[in-house]
Amino acid sequence: MKRLAGTLLLVVAFGGMLLADNPLLINGAGATFPYPIYSKWFDEYHKANGTQINYQSVGSGAGIKQVTEGTVDFGASDGPMNDDQVKAYRAKNGIGILHFPTVLGAVVPTYNIAGVSGALNFTPEALSGIFLGRISKWNDPAIAAANKGVNLPGNDIVVIHRSDGSGTTYIWTDYLSKVNSDWKDKVGKGTSVNWPVGLGGKGNEGVTGLIKQTPNSIGYVELIYAAQNKVPYGSVKNAAGSMVKADLASVTEAAAAAAKTIPDDFRVSITNAPGKNAYPISSFTWLLIPEKFKDATKRDAMKGFLKWAITDGQGVVENLSYAKLPKEVVDKELKAISKVQ
């Protein structure tokens, strides 16, 4: 009996220690697209401020779902919530959900082809054909025509897509739906679609990993994942007819037109944007913040972070190949932050 009591006491004491310290911890989950910059931001903000923001990079789909369920304090997604999802949020929580753009990024076609280390040129027809499964070999004329002088092998193309609900998928399929009516009818756009072909990887990380390990593969990832992992990525032909490679300038240009007319809820698509050198597969990415917070400390911490992120925080985004928010958008957002109560 004494032994039992002794063990129990030890257990309770240990348990007590577990409960002891309780620094402010905010939980968020969502998009893998901006994970590198969010990870850096949360780390820097924590160092400056002490606030711990725990972000789990589980995909935009999960971000939307979990913030709607209320199991996380905020969500993140590169596919803005559609009207049904916004309604569902209100129905479940009684309040609204706000979208706050944080950075601009690009989704690039990456590939792993022996002997090809440079940037291939992709037309919209080539990309849709590949992902529809209609173009199955690398040396298909639809691809070769735009890449004269490159030695494309006759190997089968291994298509790699996301296996989880993804905002990156949303951006990619949004673009394909705009440039190819077949894609729009057969597959459509969304965070999770019924892919005609290909293997599934989990998160931007998983897709990049798969591409690195699988010869003759092609996939779509956020720019920084390709750059950080030294995986070659291609240029895409934009609406104005130029072959554009994703970089800070081309992504910024893609947002320029929309920036002036961005709606109040900040939900907008900038794929296939006009502009001579606009990169056609660019997008904002958003933090999904509830209109009301029950906990005032959390609310203030969240608002503080947001303000910092869209102003001072923008200083470090370009190092990670994300483009800064356009000034008009930042101004509008600063005003909108007061909506969070």
Partner: protein, 283 residues
């Protein structure tokens, strides 16, 4: 010796050698796995691994300190849930119950034992995450605790039943009540067996990943108390293994080595104790 007999003897020798090969292959897989982990993980184990938190994405360095502590917390809480239910339930089955109730309880335990861990995760999510709007260490521990129940229950019952009647009767003849007899005589006699069963149950759930995916989720920082999401070793290994970063792969191997090492050590210790067999003194 005629030809046919020679042939049959040849076949016999050959097939029996093949079975030896099968056994060799099966056992060598274990050493192969161990070898790989020691080789790949060993180079990445350093002091940082055990003491540092994960760094920013893409930045080398950092460690799995919060994952290790997270796993320890999860296991501690899981045993607080699973062990009492299994232990006291086992006592009921061995000492108090009638056959009908015993059958139902045993059946339920066996059923629970066979449930795939991902389904247990669904259960814990529906019960403890959704209604409370929180991923939490507690939800994860609940899932793991449920998985510990069947082993603990069955083993407690078995070892208690293995205690000779004479011990019980002797104690009661001396005037002790039933409960006193159980706690002071029977359980101590079966103590070793029950403890090792609990250890084995712990070792089993220590490596479980699936049920934690939607209960404890994950956390880059330390997780205070038990109401917040927490990092855990198996989930970290899973996440890092699927990433494209070489540094994370390295850490995944290291984490795998730590996890594997701990689980195997507990198993070896527990089985050695059990195989020494007699957890009950022969009268």
């Amino acid at each position: 010796m005629n030809a046919r007999l020679r042939w049959r003897k040849l076949v016999s020798g050959f097939m029996l050698t093949m079975t030896g090969v099968c056994a060799l292959v099966a056992v060598s897989v274990l050493f192969f796995i161990l070898g790989y982990f020691v080789y790949n993980g060993g180079v990445s184990i350093n002091w940082d691994f055990f003491t540092k938190l994960p760094t920013q994405v893409g930045q080398a360095g950092g460690g799995m300190a919060n994952a290790i502590v997270g796993s320890a917390k999860l296991l501690l809480l899981a045993s607080l849930i699973g062990v009492p239910i299994g232990f006291f339930g086992g006592i009921y089955l061995a000492e108090f119950s009638g056959t009908k109730v015993a059958f139902v309880v045993r059946y339920a335990a066996d059923l629970l034992n066979g449930v795939p861990s991902i389904v247990i995760g669904i259960f814990a999510y529906a019960l403890l995450v959704l209604p409370f709007k929180h991923f939490s260490t507690f939800a994860g521990s609940f899932a793991l605790g449920i998985m510990m129940i069947p082993i603990t229950l069955r083993s407690t019952e078995e070892f208690l039943l293995g205690v000779p009647r004479a011990l019980r009767e002797g104690s009661m003849a001396l005037g002790a009540g039933k409960w006193t007899t159980i706690m002071r005589v029977v359980v101590p006699a079966a103590y070793r067996g029950i403890m090792t069963a609990i250890l084995l149950a712990l070792a089993r759930v220590a490596g479980e990943t699936a049920p934690l995916l939607f209960t404890a989720l994950g956390n880059q920082y330390w997780s205070p108390g038990w109401n917040q999401p927490t990092s855990s070793l198996p989930v970290m290994i899973y996440t890092y293994a699927l990433s494209p970063y070489e540094d994370w792969h390295r850490q995944a191997w290291a984490g795998g080595l730590v996890l594997l090492g701990l689980i195997l050590m507990v198993n070896i210790v527990a089985r050695v104790i059990l195989s020494r067999g007699i957890a009950v003194p022969r009268s």
